[in-house]
Structure formats: C-alpha cells, structure tokens
C-alpha cells in the first residue's frame, strides 16, 4: 500500500470505529481514533500476517496493551479480512466475538487478550523472547496508551526488553496526553518520556505528529539497531479526525449519538482521495 491508500484506509477505519461505538452505545472513541495511523501502518506496511491463516505459527504478532482501543483494532482486522465486517454491528453485544476489550479466544487475528492496563509490553516481551528461544524470525509490535505508563509493570517490561536485547520488538506509545480523569499532567505527570524510554535502553524515535501517516510509516521502516528494542513515541491527538472530539477528555469513553455520528462521518468524508 502506498501512503495515499494507507490514508484512505485510516479514514475507513475511523468511520468503522465511530459506527461501531455508536451502535453499541458504549466504547472508547478518543483513544481509538488517536492510534489509527500507528495501527494501520503497522499492519499494512510491517506485519507478516495472513487473514486466511490467522494462527500461522511464524506470523508476526501484535499486542494492544491499551485494550480499550479495541474498536480501532477490530476495524483494522475487519478491513483486512480477518473476520466478516458484519460483526462490527455486534460490538459489545451478548455473545459477540467483539468484546469491549480484545479477546484472543474469540477474534481471528488477535494475539493477546488485554484490558488490564500496563501488561501488554510484558506479553510482547515474552513473545519476542519466545520467538528467539524457538528460533523463529518473528517480529512483535505493541501499542500502549500514555495513561498506562503510570503502571509500574511497564517499567519492569521495558527493563527486560532492553536486558534481553529484543531487537525484534517495537513498542509504540500513543501519546495523546489525555486519560479518563483529565490530562496526564493533571492526573499524574509522566515526565520526559523520550528520556525515560531511552534510559531503559530502548531506541526511541519521537514523532511530533503521530497522526501523520507518512511519518509513522517512515519511523516503522527505520532499520533496527542490533540488540535494541525500538520505541516509537508518537505525539497524537485524542479523538483525531472529528473536530468536536479532538483533545476532549470527555470523549475518552463515551459513545456518539446517531446525530453526532452523522456529523462526524460527514467531517471524515468517505475516504476518497482526490
């Protein structure tokens, strides 16, 4: 996929996210919209996965540490054909495969069940370590929210990632600056994240605009430094793409009404590139 196609896919994914959450009447639009470029670029330009063989043992792996952004994950997997997009309308419904947080046992293409924050990097470290132990040439990707960096386990996991020299691991931080109760700084300041992750021993690539598809694609494609895990620190906009949701903490975990959805979809357009 070229960059224009990726951007088109990002629009489609954003439309899916909002439609899904609106039909469920609950869900997390803000953090789903902020990480669209990170996830689309990861799946479409980096990962070796096959929707027809979602469990292929040699496939690359992805862990959504910020599990509440499941709508974004489902939209990407659905658009790639891992399951029927008709499932979107069942999001969060009884017996649906699409729970509020990703479930490895239910959704083809999902590699880890998540939702309890701060745990994804450890699982990704285990996968990357397991790949090396089993002699598999497999790459592992994970996306974290910034709020969950307040969980101590993230420090444990990044320490281990550097210690084990996991150059088959890419940790992406969706730094949209907001969490449920306010801004990161209001709730619990995170300090200098670039320095923090560099101190752990990760190769930090900072993106001033993590919603710039070209920049994300470029960062993901940068060659790996042997023996170093890659960390993409992406400054993103929560609620990206919908003017009334952007940078609004209230849209962390609230569903748009049918009327709001209509306005949002109109703003997003149909994804056609002129």
């Amino acid at each position: 996929m070229n960059c224009l196609e990726l951007e088109k896919m990002a629009v489609t994914v954003r439309r899916d996210i909002l439609t899904m959450i609106c039909s469920a009447g609950s869900g997390h639009p803000g953090g789903s919209l902020s990480m669209v470029e990170l996830l689309v670029a990861t799946y479409c330009t980096q990962m070796h996965v096959d929707p027809k063989h979602p469990d292929a043992p040699e496939r690359d792996r992805f862990v959504l540490s910020k599990g509440h952004a499941a709508p974004c994950y489902y939209a990407v997997l659905g658009e790639l054909g891992f399951f029927d997009k008709a499932e979107f309308k069942n999001f969060r419904q009884l017996h649906s495969i699409l729970q509020g947080h990703p479930d490895v046992k239910k959704v083809p293409g999902i590699d880890a069940s998540t939702g309890s924050l701060g745990q994804g990097v450890s699982i990704a470290v285990g996968m990357a370590l397991g790949a090396k132990a089993a002699g598999k040439n497999m790459k592992v990707y994970t996306i974290l929210g910034d709020g969950e960096l307040q969980e101590g386990q993230v420090c444990e996991a990044c320490t281990a990632a550097a210690h084990y020299k996991l150059d088959n691991l890419t940790v992406m931080i969706d730094n949209n600056g907001l969490q449920i109760d306010g801004t990161n700084d209001e709730v619990m300041s995170l300090g200098n994240l670039h320095t923090r992750f560099e101190t752990f021993g990760l190769n930090v690539i900072e993106l001033p605009d993590g919603n710039d598809m070209q920049a994300v694609v470029y960062a993901l494609a940068l060659p790996t430094i042997p023996g170093k895990p890659k960390c993409i620190l992406a400054h993103t906009t929560k609620g990206k793409g919908v003017s009334f949701m952007e940078n609004q903490v209230s849209w962390h975990g609230r569903a748009p009404s049918a009327e709001e959805l209509k306005v949002a979809l109109k703003e997003l357009g149909d994804g056609k590139i002129e």
């Binding site: 043992p57 792996r61 862990v63 490895v104 046992k105 590699d111 880890a112 069940s113 998540t114 939702g115 309890s116 745990q119 990097v121 450890s122 699982i123 990704a124 470290v125 285990g126 996968m127 990357a128 370590l129 397991g130 790949a131 132990a133 089993a134 598999k136 497999m138 101590g152 386990q153 444990e156 996991a157 320490t159 281990a160 210690h163 084990y164």
Partner: protein, 336 residues
C-alpha cells in the same frame, strides 16, 4: 512428549522438596525442548538454579518483577514453549495475580507455576512471606489446575503430570524438607484423583501438602490408642476435585476432617465443604487450618502445632468429633 522420570526415596532423601522439583524439571527438560524456566531473582531460594546450570539458554531470571514474569510467561507460551515460573507462592498468588488471571488463566495458556515457600513453611521469615490464602485464590481461577503435593516424590509426579497436561497448572510446594509420605513414585498419581493412604470406617481425614503426613501420623495414633479407624485421603489435586472420593468418604465414614496449611476459608476445607453441601448427604465436618487469621512466625513444625494442623491437633479434633451425637441412620434415601 514428557518422558519418564523415576526416583526412589533413597535417591531423594537428601533433597528438599524444591530440590526434587528442580531435579525433575531438569531431567524432563532434557526430553522436552519446549520447557523453559523463569524466575524472579529466586533461582537460589526456589532451588531452580540447577536448571540454569544444565540449560543456561532456557533459563530467564527476570529480576524482582513478578508481574512482568507472568506476562512474559504468557507471551512465551503463545510461541509454543512450556514456561515454568519458579517463585514464592505469596508473590505468585498475590503480587502477580492480575497477570496470572488475565494473561495466563483467562487465555488458557500452557504456563506451569511452581509456587514455593507455601503455607507457613517460610515460618521465621515473617507473615509477609507466608502464603495462606493462595489455594483459595488460585482455585477460583477458571482453566487452572491446582495441585498441592505432599512430599518431594509427589512433587516430581506433579511436575511430570503438569507437562503432560495442556493448560495452566499451579503447583504449591513448601520450603525445605517435607516428611516422606510416599515410598516411591509409582503409586498411581493422577491429577484429580485422591490417594487413599489408610482405610477406615469411623471418619475420614482429608489433607493436602504438609497436612498429609500429619494425618497419617494421627490416624495411626488414633487406631493404636483409641481404636478409632480413620481413613486418610491425600487430596493432592484441589482442582479438579475428586468428588467421588469425597462422597464415598461421606457415605462410608460419616465424619470428615480437612487439614491444610492454609486458611480454612476457601481452600481445601472450603472445596470439600462445597462438595459435601451439594452432595445431599449429612456428615459431621471440621476444617483444620488457619482460623481466619494471619500466622505468627516460628519454625514450620511449631506453627503446624500452633494452628493445630499437626498430628496432635488432628487427634484432638477427631476425639471431639467422635463424641458428637451425630445421627447414625443408615437410611440415606430419606436425606436426599
């Protein structure tokens, strides 16, 4: 794929329970390349350091970071490996619980947790290092098998059986030496099947872990001094529980005492109580263990005595139970 191991009492008599576990796992790892070991700076304490000597590239010491360890184990299991975590019971069932719950049990992954220093066996270290709630916590986790071996050889059997089982397993062992209960490995150990060590018709003592040896001692003493015939069941698997053996004991002995180095709430005693209550057959019943309390510190044997889960405590409770005016009606039909 796990092959055989067979140790005699003589071979293992100088080894603590954890040392037998380390030996068994190392020998089995030679036969099964999927086995890897993780520990949280407890290679020496949990005795798994010998595995590291034999398989340095299959051994991961993640430092003092239990939550991370269980997450890593989850990821490694997803790559087809069989990770064994070697960690204190209290830091497995309490510190790492969220990760054990979500990353391992919920995803039904093939991780084996060896939880050492369980119960009050780390007695003098202090109550922060005791683990007297872990059976209750762990048996409430869906998908998880919970095993509490009585001695070193049973631990070796449990490790072997855990490898043969595809799914998460929690094996709870003590610090130091356990009194020998089994005179070999070949007594038909099977996950989910209680081992009857003594037969009797007056009451049944159901025990696990370090309580099993004490139960046998008590039963012998009761037979000798009181003429009481006690059945002793080693209920090494808490989940899946051997309902059949428990109900048979209820029907045939009408009195049950459970013995565990653990709180009486939700552990072995709680699990047995659930079976009895739903079984529809009345019986006299007592749970021995920590009576809704944290333990003081001391040597393990002194604490067993303090909590009345040693032979003397069991004998005392048995005598009291035998004196109860309990309905001895043999007609079960009217009680269903």
């Amino acid at each position: 794929m796990a092959g055989g191991i067979s140790y005699t009492v003589d071979e293992t008599t100088k080894l603590s329970t954890a040392e037998v576990y380390a030996k068994a796992l190392s020998d089995l790892a030679l036969q099964d390349p999927r086995i890897v070991v993780l520990t949280s700076d407890l290679a020496k304490s949990t005795k798994i350091g010998v595995f590291e000597e034999r398989f340095p590239d299959r051994f991961y010491n993640v430092g003092i970071a239990e939550q991370n360890m269980f997450g890593i184990a989850s990821g490694m299991a997803k790559c087809g490996l069989i990770p064994f975590t070697s960690c204190f019971a209290v830091f497995t069932a309490c510190r790492g619980l969220d990760q054990v719950h979500t990353d391992i049990c919920y995803q039904n992954l093939n991780v084996k947790m060896i939880a050492s220093h369980a119960g009050t066996s780390f007695g003098q270290a202090g109550t922060t290092h005791h683990s007297t709630e872990d059976i209750a916590i762990m048996r409430s986790m869906a998908n998880l098998t919970v095993i509490v071996p009585a001695d070193g050889l049973e631990t070796a059997n449990a490790v072997k059986a855990a490898i043969e089982l595809n799914g998460p397993v929690y094996i709870r062992i003590n610090r130091g030496f356990d009194q020998i209960v089994n005179d070999g490995m070949d007594y038909g150990f099977q996950i989910g099947k209680a081992v009857q060590l003594m037969d009797g018709t007056d009451l049944t003592i159901i025990a696990c872990g370090s309580g099993v040896f004490q139960a046998v001692q008590a039963a012998r003493e009761l037979a000798f001094s009181d003429g009481i015939k006690a059945r002793v069941l080693n209920l090494h698997t808490i989940k899946p529980i051997d309902r059949e053996a428990i109900m048979k004991a209820v029907q045939e002995t009408r009195r049950i005492i459970t013995v565990e180095d653990h709180t009486i709430i939700g552990g072995l005693g709680g699990a047995v109580a659930e079976i009895i209550a739903e079984g529809g057959k009345a019986c006299a019943f007592r749970r021995l263990g920590l009576q809704d309390a944290f333990s003081p510190i001391g040597l393990h044997e002194d604490l067993m005595s303090y909590h009345k889960i040693d032979a003397n405590g069991i004998i005392e409770t048995t005598r009291a139970l035998m004196k109860l005016d309990f309905e001895e009606d043999d007609n079960w039909e009217d009680e269903v």
